[in-house]
């Protein structure tokens, strides 16, 4: 697979949220606003980048039987380091995201990429994969956070969109709203994917017809 296909695959076709439905805990927990979603996504992206990079560097060095505890240690170290850096230089956002930062350790998407991809591929490919998967995850968090913030508070990234007269739909800030909004987003993603598949099929069919004409 070339790098571009690798990127599209990690960002869209195998998106952690849209396709694999992994990492639901931070997704549903922190996405009460687009900004929270963005920074949670960035923190996860940085951890993923670090763990994919190191795991692919040590692939073949770590004996197979102890690879999982080794990967978990690597991931936990990166999470703790990112957490300390955020605590130091982004203190307010660190307080908002709170417990969800240390919980990045148990985001199965990260161990999943270490085990399924970085441990079997080159450093460069692993970095591309981490960036693609991380951006895909961040995109999903911003999307869900944005929808919930917009419907729940009439704002986007803290800026008023619908004006002061907008009646806040509290449900979208509360946990049930996260599930409902996610359901509609997944439906939308499936609709887009079906349209893409139909268009690809149509193109393939017309290509076949052209070939057939030429042969004829």
């Amino acid at each position: 697979m070339n790098r571009q296909a690798l990127f599209v695959d990690g960002f869209w076709h195998n998106n952690t949220i849209f396709a694999q439905l992994l990492g639901m805990c931070p997704l549903l927990g922190v996405t009460t606003s687009a900004e929270n979603g963005f920074w949670m996504g960035v923190a996860t992206l940085l951890v993923l980048l670090g763990s994919n990079l190191v795991v692919s560097l040590v692939r073949g060095v770590i004996p197979k039987n102890v690879r999982i505890p080794a990967y978990i240690t690597i991931i936990a170290a990166f999470v703790t380091i990112i957490g300390m850096l955020m605590d130091a230089w982004m203190h307010q956002m660190y307080l908002v995201l709170g417990l969800f930062i240390p919980l990045i350790v148990v985001n199965c998407a990260i161990l999943g990429r270490a085990e399924a991809f970085a441990s079997k591929n080159s450093v460069a490919d692993s970095v591309v994969d981490a960036v693609a998967v991380g951006l895909g995850f961040t995109f999903a968090l911003i999307l869900l956070g944005g929808v919930r913030e917009l419907l729940g508070q009439g704002e986007l990234f803290g800026f008023s969109v619908f004006g002061d007269s907008y009646p806040d739909v509290l449900m979208f800030i509360l946990p049930p709203g996260a599930f409902i909004a996610l359901g509609f987003i997944l439906a939308g993603v499936n609709w887009i994917n079906r349209r893409l598949a139909a268009r690809a099929a149509a193109r393939a069919a017309s290509g076949d017809a052209a070939v057939a004409v030429e042969v004829g």
Partner: protein
């Protein structure tokens, strides 16, 4: 005697190295971030203190001291004690503890309260952060001139629509803070009194 074969040794060595390198990196990051984290925490506390204390020209955090189990921050204007602040915890919020910074005049009347940490329901219980007129209803009150209960319980403080437990917990905790001050006022004022007060206290002590 137990013998390790080559494969086992490799496993032990690999895990040892991974853990050791991780430990060194974590230690270095801690050294590197310890001071900025402490500064960020001081800054956060500073902002909160500025909102509950009256105008002052000292550094309340530098002069903080523990009296009767609470870390108390004094505000002084030209050495005269102008206000006191400390944090109380309401353990009975709707979801978990609510941390409240209390700002008090030395005579035992409230200046302001500010919630510094809570996990109450957004849109309902979090009125304790967003509802400024409710927060203002505490201003200037002491222990005896108002009934320290929410209206539903026969007191003078509003509850919020759809949220009674949260304001009830806050009112109870603030009342507890005022009772704490009444019980320990002598010790607190002695500890933080300005130099003149201290001299007077020493004089009286003789």
């Amino acid at each position: 005697m137990m013998r390790f074969d080559r494969e086992q040794l490799q496993m032990v060595l690999a895990l040892f190295l991974v853990a050791a390198i991780a430990a060194v990196l974590l230690g270095m990051t801690d050294l590197f971030t310890r001071e900025p984290i402490a500064a960020a925490q001081r800054q956060t506390l500073h902002h909160a203190l500025e909102q509950v204390l009256p105008g002052h020209n000292n550094d309340p955090q530098a002069e903080a001291a523990v009296v009767a189990g609470h870390e108390i921050y004094p505000a002084r204007q030209d050495h005269a004690l102008a206000g006191l602040a400390w944090e109380v915890v309401a353990p009975d919020g709707y979801s978990g503890s609510i941390h409240i910074l209390i700002g008090l005049r030395p005579d035992g009347r409230l200046l302001a309260i500010r919630v510094t940490d809570h996990k109450e329901t957004p849109g309902l219980g979090d009125g304790i952060v967003r509802n400024q007129s409710w927060l203002d209803s505490f201003r200037d009150h002491g222990l005896d001139d108002i009934r320290w209960l929410v209206k539903k319980d026969g007191g003078d403080f509003d509850q919020f629509t759809g949220a009674t437990i949260t304001p009830r917990a806050v009112v109870k905790a603030v009342k507890g803070a005022l009772e704490f001050y009444r019980a320990n006022r002598a010790a607190i004022v002695t500890r933080f009194g300005d130099s003149t007060d201290a001299a007077v206290a020493a004089e009286v002590g003789k």
